[in-house]
């Protein structure tokens, strides 16, 4: 399969069910022409987030156009930042963490990405949810 030209979306939640559920919503509402991956829960299967799992999700959703990450509570954001820091240098500047609600942001970002919009526009669309 050729690499997608659309921006990829990663959903990071403390709960595996929230992350998977949000990903389901994206698939059903937006379709499957956007690379999509979810990372939820800690390494022990409990509530929390896991840097290695987030890195793996970024890999699965990777696109040359970049990846937009949607997160829920505090630790999801700091662990996502850590995951981005640990990615190869040439990828780091093509990964952004959106300041947006996780479910709505994931659907909006994916809708924007499905039309082929660049990473900055995908991020701006997700963040528009809290700016107005």
């Amino acid at each position: 399969m050729p690499a997608s030209k659309n921006v990829g979306i990663v959903i990071v939640s403390h709960s595996a069910k929230v992350a998977e559920g949000a990903a389901d919503m994206v698939r059903q509402m937006v379709g499957d022409n956007v690379p999509l991956a979810a990372a939820g829960g800690n390494a022990e299967g409990g509530l929390g987030t896991d840097v290695a799992a987030i890195m793996a999700a970024i890999d699965r959703a990777w696109s040359e156009a970049g990846v937009a990450i949607l997160v829920d509570l505090g630790g999801a954001e700091t662990n996502s930042e850590m995951a981005v820091e640990m990615m190869p240098e040439e990828r780091r500047e093509r990964i952004v963490i959106c300041n947006a609600p996780i479910v709505e942001g994931a659907v909006m970002a994916a809708t924007e990405a499905s039309g082929g919009s660049p990473l900055a526009v995908v991020r701006a669309t997700a963040e528009e949810l809290i700016s107005a």
Binding site: V107, T111, S114, G115, S117, L129
Partner: protein
Amino acid sequence: MNDASTEGSERMIGMQEVTASALLTNKVGLHARPSVKLTQLAKRFASRIEVATSAAGPWTDAKSPVKIMRVKASQGEVLHFKASGADATAAITALVDIVTRKFDEE
């Protein structure tokens, strides 16, 4: 100079605005999933495309998923479209068609 102004006016004709309207007949109206479908369709065209629930506006950018989600039009309301650009006619035809097809959901 003359050449430039002629070219300019031809461009204006090419940019003519195309309008149309369609009645929302699907049960849920322009709720979340139809909104996503509408913006995805609008994004396939290069033209500037706007939507309103009244011919007098206010007009909303049809390519903005967040803004379209806020229109919240219900069954029985009329969606007005206007488009300008090289593929404006095709865009308007496609948008009216997806509304008429009830967004392929019923």
